[in-house]
């Protein structure tokens, strides 16, 4: 074996060890608060802008920001209705995880965001749709919380389960927010 061949083999081995560029981003949006759904949507839109196939799988509290803003009470039974009373859905009714101060916190945050030309969660959701981000609601949570497809905004993909979410996450950058 010549020195040249050994060199080439070594170079090939090195090249093979280089981690491949990950072209997929999957975010599990578990949280429904303003300060958590906001970075979720910033990362999702940015991932799509970087050319990554991007999916956001909305589960548990993460589903409520997808409720239409004009829909007030959701659910079939009193428990589900109570849930929506206490945890209003819609991307314009989000609370902060800290310093909420009965809504004063989010109002101040939105005012600051406007001053700094930061896109709102509502605008980011629209951008995500435009950029082709796959927005997938979790079917089981919808059933559990009594959220029907017509309670949720347009532009979402078919509700799906954990298997679909994990299958999409194969070989992807994954985040759980």
């Amino acid at each position: 074996m010549s020195v040249d061949m050994i060199d080439r083999q070594f170079a090939e081995q090195l090249a093979a060890k280089k981690p491949p560029v990950t072209n997929k981003l999957v975010i599990f949006a578990w949280s429904g608060e303003l300060d958590r759904i906001w970075p979720t949507l910033i990362l999702a839109t940015t991932g799509a802008a970087m050319g990554k196939e991007t999916t956001v799988f909305f589960t548990f509290w993460g589903l409520f920001p997808l409720v239409k803003n004009q829909v007030r009470i959701t659910g079939e039974n009193w428990m589900q209705k109570m849930l929506s009373m206490l945890n209003r859905g819609g991307d314009e009714h989000l609370k902060l995880s800290k310093m909420n101060f009965a809504g004063a916190g989010p109002a101040m945050m939105k005012s600051l965001a406007e001053d700094h030309h930061v896109a709102s969660p509502h605008e980011l959701l629209e951008m995500a749709k435009e950029l082709g981000v796959h927005l997938i609601p979790c079917q089981m949570t919808m059933d559990l919380m009594g959220l029907k497809r017509e309670d949720l905004i347009d532009g979402l993909e078919e509700p799906a389960g954990a298997t679909k979410a994990l299958a999409d996450a194969e070989g992807a950058i994954t985040l759980f927010i």
Binding site: I42, T45, A48, A49, M50, G51, H117, A119, L131
Partner: protein, 83 residues
Amino acid sequence: MTTTTSITTRLDLKGLSCPLPIIKTAKAMKGLAAGELLEALATDPGSVSDFKAWAQSTGNPLLESTQEGGVYRFVLMKKETMG
């Protein structure tokens, strides 16, 4: 390598915060033909590393990254094949 081509698209992203400069740039880059240049002006200091990272990640060369009077100027070239 850029002498034969000139800037065909100019974006004013001044005042916008993360992630808007990159999202608007990515959208505009989609409409460019291979080899065409895009100039973006931004005021978000984070855009310096964001544009560099976006260029590396997508493979569209960042030809210029300069700053003058608090305005960052970036020149990107559309690569040969990009969706």
